[in-house]
Amino acid sequence: MEGLASRVRLNDQEAVAKIIDGEAILINLVSGVYYSMDGTGAVIWSLIQAGEPVERMAASLAASYDVTLEQAAIDIEAVVRELLEQRLVVPDDVPSSFPTAPVAAGNGTKLPYVAPALNAYTDMGDLLALDPPVPGFNDISWEK
């Protein structure tokens, strides 16, 4: 994981994210591109939200899925780099105050492994080409 930040977090200046029904939905408010990650991708996103160091994510994944530690590390590095490239996350070297735990492994049977993937949807970006979003608008307090 050479050159990769030890931790990453949501780039909340430019993106929003939500996990629903085991699927992570992410929206880049600047580019208008939105994304989904299901399965192992959603697990990695939940680990990012929990402040898990990137180097420990592989152990979490390998504890629950039928994948070697090495392969999990390779796949995690690839998806984290993609998240960084898409400006959905930023490096965060502040240690999390929340203890993290491996993904629940159930009764010891490992889940089938599918490599995490970041699915990108660019259809909104085309619509916004002439009318781009307004980053920073949410800095204003809209509540009464």
Partner: protein, 367 residues
Amino acid sequence: MNKQSDSPRPDGSGDSPFPPSVFDLSRAAFELAVREHPSMVHEHCGTLLGRPVRWRIVGQHFARRVVAPLSNTLRFDDATPDLEIELWDVAATGVRPPVEVAEGTLVRSWTVGLETLTVSADGQLVGHQLHTTILWLNRAARRIVGWTAAAAGLSLHQRGKPLQTILSIWGHGCGVQAVHAGLVARDHRAVLFPGKSGSGKSTATLACASAGYAFLSDDWVGVEIGDDPPFVAHGLYGSAWLDPMHARRFPALAVHAVPTGSAVETKSLLLMSDAPEIHVASAAPLAALALPRIVDRAAAPPVRATRAEALLVLAPSTVLQLLPRGGRRELERLARLAEQVPAYWLELGHDLGAIPGHVEEILAATP
């Protein structure tokens, strides 16, 4: 074009909670218009987003144009308004506005497309300019005051959805979540058609409205998303846009449409008050989400969508395309909507006549 500036106020009013000058001066100008032209004052009391709103408009032509798309609002007589709206027509009254450009008037300003927003430091005062119409929302005073240069110069968009952005901001402050969607209802049970521009939400809405469903909205819906359903969904305007394809597909509605005379505005305007065959309503409890999906074949019956699929349709279009732009809070609200309200894929195929029946199937499948 998207431009943001952080400039000091020209009136030097600093960061006081209720920047006074431009709003108070605009109110004074409005009152002058009322005093000088009492016979030109039109009053309209109707609900918006379920809340009583009183409009006072100086200028008969301006008033007719503003009120025409409010046919789905419920009249009220004696309720204390939650919002007062005061507007005047500069050309008709001769009363000049205190400022003629909104940008840079308050602490922060953005230009998004043709619209300019300017906001005080605390967000309590919001200015909005579109073409030669400027509006000021004082959220603490629950009042909008504004003017247009001349009613004859209003764009078709302004005639169909008057004050849309500033009312969206007011609704946002009231806890009403704007959703980019069409909305119809039958037997007081509403079905929401969310989606980006061109996804088929207007087609689905107009097909259902033509088949006897109540029309509530074709592209902007306010949903009160509380802790538990049912969530009440509000339409804001009794108007819809007809693009050339809609005009061919809904010829009975197209005959009522106001054609666009502009090269910029490609859609014609349908005021539901001009289409007596359309029944309009202002609000209904939300029963289901129908996610439009255009297919190049006959439409299959609706099938259940996952909550993640529903959020993927609901969120990007709403968060990215509506003003004010959404963020984390809006995504959380939309996720609650996707979690709590059943969603179905609604295919829009070659036979538009199938749409109302498929929506009926969705309602029948929903408790």
